[in-house]
């Protein structure tokens, strides 16, 4: 009664190594020749992949820092310490500080419901979660303008009560929350589905209540996936341009986030300052990648 081995479809580094890498290792030497492509083909493929990476990923990143520091460290620091830039940093942090925890809670709740329970409308919910990914960010921004803007559905009521959403901080937060909504849920759903329900069922039979069940059984099993989702969510929250641009109104020192600030400075030919501010976002991306790498490794172990 043979139980089939769970087969692994995961690609390993070995799949990407040139065939020589197998010599004396896994594959018998005699077979290497059969697997080997002509040298020209190999170098062409590897070379073009490398060229692509350098051209589209590495060079732009290097250019950001080069341009930012071209006029010296003092100019760089001055550009970032400038009040409008500082205000943009504060607003970006604020938006992320609100959007990320909210979407973490929403995402975990949605993923938990979808992965661990059967209910009517599950497919609809899954589709809705993906909506922000499939809608252009500019459109999502416009929807908020239509809803909350001066001419929008709720505009008159908001004005009566002295509330300002569009061209103000609440609008930026709303747009950020919307755009970053799927990240945590999307990361967790497949993970939780793959883990199945047995551990939760075991916990329920042992008498665990909802919160204990989540805190002691579900959460520990998803924590690295959750961290991964939160990091991606945060990166997008801080970097979002389109949706935020529509609802922001670009009021300097008040409704400009970092990406908007970069655009304004660039349009005003303040290249050093623009790249200095941009370098902050680039740094954020690098930190994100590093933390993501760590989380991924823990997730795999």
């Amino acid at each position: 009664m043979a139980k089939p081995q769970a087969r692994s479809f995961e690609l390993t580094w070995g799949d990407f190594l040139p065939p020589e890498a197998y010599v004396g290792d896994k594959a018998p030497t005699a077979r290497v020749g059969a697997r080997q492509e002509p040298a020209a083909v190999r170098w062409l493929l590897i070379g073009s992949a490398l060229a692509f990476l350098v051209l589209f990923l590495f060079l732009p990143l290097a250019a950001v820092f080069h341009e930012a520091l071209k006029k010296g460290w003092d100019v760089y620091v001055a550009a970032i310490a400038e009040p409008d830039a500082l205000a943009a940093i504060r607003l970006t942090l604020l938006a992320a500080l609100i959007a990320v925890p909210l979407n973490t809670v929403f995402g975990v709740a949605a993923a938990w419901a979808i992965a661990k329970f059967d209910f009517r409308g599950k497919n609809l919910l899954t589709t809705l979660i993906d909506l922000p990914f499939s809608v252009s960010p500019v459109i999502s921004g416009l929807i908020y303008v239509l809803l909350f803007g001066a001419q929008g559905w709720l505009g008159p009521w908001l004005q009566e009560h002295g509330l300002k959403v569009i061209f103000a901080v609440p609008g930026i937060v709303l747009a950020t929350v919307f755009v970053t909504f799927p990240f945590v849920a999307r990361e967790l759903i497949p993970l939780m589905q793959a883990q199945g329900r047995e551990e939760e069922e075991a916990a329920v039979v042992l008498g665990a209540r909802g919160w204990d069940l989540f805190r002691r059984v579900t959460l520990p099993n998803i924590k690295w996936g959750l961290l991964y989702g939160v990091i991606l969510c945060n990166a997008r929250a801080m970097g979002e341009f389109g949706a935020v641009s529509v609802v922001s109104g670009h009021i300097r020192g008040s409704t400009n986030t970092l990406p908007l600030q970069v655009e304004i400075l660039y349009n005003e030919y303040q290249f050093a300052a623009a790249f200095a501010v941009a370098s902050l976002l680039a740094l954020l991306a690098l930190v994100t990648l590093a933390v993501k790498g760590i989380a991924e490794r823990r997730l795999a172990s």
């Binding site: 199945g196 329900r197 916990a203 059984v217």
Partner: protein, 274 residues
């Protein structure tokens, strides 16, 4: 604690997993649900545990209707086919879980929990494994830890889903004898699911043979052997290797949807999840 199953029917979409099943299990009895895979026995076990709701019929514990009682409140011990040990907890923490999640007023003290866990680990003869993690254990050890964890909450009923299904033949036979001895010692009403007739006959006081969601015959191993009630039972028992897995591969999950997905997923677990 006696168990009565009265007219239980359960369907999953078009599939009838249980078809008007009635069964009385006496207090302290050790009963085997025996049938080829896909005959609804795991579903019956899950209905008794409260993990599945019947479409019709009732489940009574000790004469009291438990059909609407949440699985959490039923005080059953359930040992899952793939054990479902909490992978991020040590063996001791796994066993202690049921005690730790009790509401504060009825939760034993830390010292009492620790003593109880040690007792249970001794009972399953694995007292020295407390600080290990599930992935560091062999299949047979995991099985016994799962049992200790289920016993920790002093269940009124112990339910085991293919308890030896995932183990190799030697360990299987050992654990079988061991389960019988354990039952004689603890004397908790026990129901286990198996597709292996040798196993059922060797361990159980009574055997319940199922086919396509219906009961074919209920009786002691001797009764069933001596007088098969239906053609199905006769053919099933005559099957030489005593293992119905020849009919349907035994690793196929039982036809309860949620457990089916869970099993399929846990057996085909993506390496990503370790």
């Amino acid at each position: 604690m006696s168990i009565q199953v009265q007219g239980v029917t359960k369907t999953f979409g078009e599939f009838v997993a249980l078809d008007d099943v009635s069964l009385d299990i006496a207090s302290g009895e050790l009963v085997a649900l025996l049938s080829p895979s896909g005959s609804g026995k795991t579903t019956l076990l899950r209905v008794i545990a409260g993990l599945e709701w019947p479409d019709a019929g009732r489940v009574l514990f000790h004469g009291e209707d438990a059909t609407d009682t949440h699985a959490r409140e039923r005080r059953v011990g359930f040992v899952f086919q793939h054990y479902a040990l909490f992978r991020h907890m040590t063996v001791s923490e796994n066993v202690a879980f049921g005690l730790r999640v009790r509401p504060r007023p009825v939760r034993p003290s830390e010292a009492a929990i620790r003593a109880k866990v040690q007792d249970l680990l001794e009972l399953v003869q694995l007292g020295w494994l407390g600080e290990r993690y599930p992935h560091q254990l062999s299949g047979g050890q995991r099985q016994r830890i799962a049992l200790a964890r289920a016993l920790a909450v002093e269940p009124r009923v112990l339910l085991l889903d293919e308890p030896f299904g995932a183990l190799d033949a030697n360990v299987r036979k050992q654990l079988r004898r061991w389960l019988r001895r354990l039952h004689d010692e603890v004397h908790v009403t026990t129901v286990f699911v198996t597709h292996d007739q040798d196993e059922a006959m060797a361990v159980a006081d009574r055997v319940v043979i199922m086919n396509h969601g219906r009961l074919e015959q209920v009786g002691t191993p001797e009764q069933v052997r001596a007088a098969p009630a239906t053609e199905f039972v006769r053919a099933f028992l005559a099957d030489d290797d005593g293992d119905a897995s020849g009919i349907i591969p035994s690793w196929q999950p039982e036809p309860s949807f949620s457990s089916r997905t869970a099993h399929a997923m846990s057996s085909g677990r993506v390496p990503l999840l370790g």
